[in-house]
């Protein structure tokens, strides 16, 4: 076992434990804090996959923006959802069954696929990847259109969120 594999196993165990705590924790604030730990674990996976840029934007966007937004929303709606009473539906076993069946189906597809145990080739010039990605996002014959659509989507989401959540003056 190499050091990389040991790091992977430790991070995977912590991340999955935190992920399970996110969906089972009774207190919503605790769920949000476990979510932050899960997102950190995913950022470490990006580093292991030679995609350091994605680890950085994972920390900035997901932890810095989305998780904080979750904590704000949990605090704003705290009074009605106290920690008493059931936090799950009465037929939670059905949801668990569907999740397990989905995992079984995915695993079945994986074991029949011959590319499943590929090991990576060495990545040439890892630092130049960010330049390549940045140029690809703004060159018209590559990903300019999806990039601009994402910008429009973000503006629309911002305007929509302000309009929906804003205080209406009667």
């Amino acid at each position: 076992m190499t050091a990389e594999q040991i790091i992977f196993i430790v991070v995977a165990a912590v991340t999955l434990g935190a992920g399970i705590s996110v969906v089972t924790s009774r207190n919503l604030i605790h769920s949000a804090l476990w979510l932050i730990l899960t997102l950190f674990g995913v950022a470490i996976f990006y580093v292991l996959l030679d995609a350091g840029f994605f680890a950085v934007i994972q920390v900035i966007i997901y932890i810095g923006a989305i998780a904080i937004l979750f904590i704000f929303a949990a605090m704003l709606t705290r009074r009605v959802m106290q920690d008493t009473g059931p936090q799950s539906n009465s037929n939670w076993w059905l949801g668990a069954l569907i999740a397990v069946l989905l995992f079984a189906g995915i695993a079945l597809i994986f074991v029949n696929w011959q590319g499943f145990t590929t090991t990576p080739s060495d990545l040439a010039n890892p630092g130049g990847r960010i330049v390549q990605l940045g140029l690809a996002l703004v060159s018209p014959d590559q990903y300019l259109l999806p990039f601009e659509l994402a910008s429009i989507l973000l503006v629309a989401a911002m305007i929509g969120a302000i309009f929906v959540a804003g205080e209406k003056k009667q």
Partner: protein, 102 residues
Amino acid sequence: MIPLSWYLIFAAILFCVGLYGVLVRKNAIAILMGIELMLNSININLIAFWRYRSPDGIAGQAFAIIVFAVAAAEVAVGLALIISIYRRRSSVVAEDMNMLKW
């Protein structure tokens, strides 16, 4: 080196955990958290396939960037809707949000 299968199995488990949260939790904010877990596992898959299958291309990374943007937009609008509903009905339980049902 880590084989591709480890990443795929991990992402599949994380996706199923997120799906369980979406299906089972009562609180609408917790349902959105489950969706975030699912989007994260998808992103791990995209980056892992880029790294192992076509490290010379850029498509996987570009796709992951778009997923990031969509996730940010989705959670902003979703939480705004939940807060708006909370103002009108004083509830964040997904079962109570049945104004469009008749």
